[in-house]
């Protein structure tokens, strides 16, 4: 995937629901239309980040991996909310 995030959140070592909380806290740090990335080892993040996007009307772009192989989840801010 060739999406360049405007901001990457390092949530390595955080357990659910911390990665989703970090995402919600920092969504407004990026402009509408930009992508925010969450790097998280927590297995629940794979389900909860797409579910968060659905509930908060943000766009779930998909997943790739950080340089160290940890999963990275990409979210596009589509509205003021979060």
């Amino acid at each position: 995937m060739t999406v360049e995030p405007a901001l990457e959140l390092d949530c390595r070592g955080l357990l659910c629901p911390r990665p989703v909380i970090e995402l919600a806290k920092h969504l407004t740090d990026v402009p509408v239309g930009a992508v925010i990335a969450v790097v998280a080892e927590d297995p629940a993040a794979a389900h909860d980040i797409p579910a968060w996007c659905r509930m908060r009307s943000q766009e779930y772009v998909g997943t790739d991996t950080a340089a160290d192989g940890v999963a990275r989840y990409l979210v596009r801010r589509t509205s003021a909310g979060g």
Binding site: C16, P17, R18, A24, P43, A44, H47, D48, A51, M55
Partner: protein, 330 residues
């Protein structure tokens, strides 16, 4: 004689023939015998097992065993309500000329959604194994299954007793080593437990119309009340569901924190969240539905749960959820 009585009473309460009823050492064992016995009975025509993605772990473990024995196992996706569509199952069955056994539950044990078992059987033409542990006794069994399993303690019977149902004329073979070459009765059926189970089952069936109506209305009340809490997802089918069960997830809430806090206030609830599991893996049921897996609370109503109990829980939840979110810095 006593065993025959237990078998007949169980058959009558479940709406099946008495020669279709066997007693096993647990619901889990009945599930394993049902799934693997159907596969063994059809082995010459194929060794494929298809299971819905939201089956109980007992079914999934039977699948792992089957795979270890050289068979194939595929998981079928469900919709957002947790339901397996008959056409999804039919498409999967038609992937191959090899016969497939389809495993689908009567109702989901975590979110309560009922499965269209009869429609799945008709659409696929496959022998269907039905895990009925979550609904047997509470609800009449759906049609369409070739083998089914139930668990006595789920209807208030003794632990350590499962019920295996095999439809007359079904190709079923004991998949495990057995003392007798005869398929039925199974070895070692436990007479006292079977009698206790049959008595409990009869009692539950006798009062279920009234209990189900009451519980279903209380679950409606819970679903509506919980949905008013911000950033909350009430999970599962709102109508076509088990009468006594409801599951919801609160965004940003730690599942362990909410279960602990509710317990402190006298409410015993369960959770499918990862932080409440020893594996740190979230519920595979919630994950397969695309539902939020954290902040999950599952409420099972007892037969004596009152409207007052439900209202006390509804009064406590907004405050408990708000405080946990506040502690998380939100």
């Amino acid at each position: 004689m006593l065993l025959d009585n237990a078998r007949e009473a169980t058959a009558e309460a479940l709406g099946v023939r008495s020669d279709e009823v066997s007693f096993t050492a647990s619901g889990t064992h009945a599930v394993h015998l049902g799934v693997l016995g159907l596969l063994a009975g059809h082995a010459r025509r194929g060794r494929r097992l298809l299971t819905s993605a939201v089956e109980h772990s007992a079914v999934l473990h039977a699948g792992v065993w089957h795979h270890g024995q050289g068979g194939s196992v595929d998981t079928l996706p469900v919709d957002v309500l947790g339901r397996l569509a008959p056409q999804t199952a039919a498409r999967a069955v038609s992937w191959s000329d090899e016969l497939a056994v389809v495993a689908v539950q009567s109702a989901n044990h975590e979110v309560g959604t009922l499965q269209p078992v009869a429609d799945i059987a008709e659409a696929t033409g496959a022998p269907v194994f039905m895990d009925a542990c979550a609904s047997a006794g509470r609800l009449p069994l759906p049609e369409g299954w070739a083998a089914a399993a139930a668990s006595a303690h789920k209807w208030g019977g003794p632990p350590g007793l499962g019920v295996l149902l095999v439809r007359k004329g079904t190709r079923w073979r004991n998949p495990f080593p057995a003392d007798s070459m005869d398929q039925f009765p199974l070895d070692g059926e436990n007479v006292p437990l079977a009698l206790a189970s049959a008595a409990a089952l009869q009692a539950v069936v006798a009062e279920r119309d009234e209990v189900n109506r009451r519980q279903s209305a209380l679950v409606d009340r819970l679903r509506a009340g919980v949905a008013r809490i911000p950033d909350t997802e009430v999970v599962g089918d709102p109508v076509d569901r088990l009468p006594h069960l409801v599951t919801f997830s609160f965004l940003y809430v730690d599942g362990e924190a909410i279960v602990t806090e509710l317990d402190r206030r006298g409410f015993a609830v369960a959770s499918g969240s990862a932080c409440t599991a020893s594996t740190l893996e979230p519920s595979h049921v919630l994950a397969a539905m695309g539902a939020l897996t954290h902040g999950n609370v599952r409420v099972s109503l007892a037969r004596d749960t009152t409207e007052d109990d439900v209202d006390r829980l509804l009064a406590a939840l907004p405050e408990v959820v708000a405080r946990i979110r506040e502690d998380a810095g939100l």
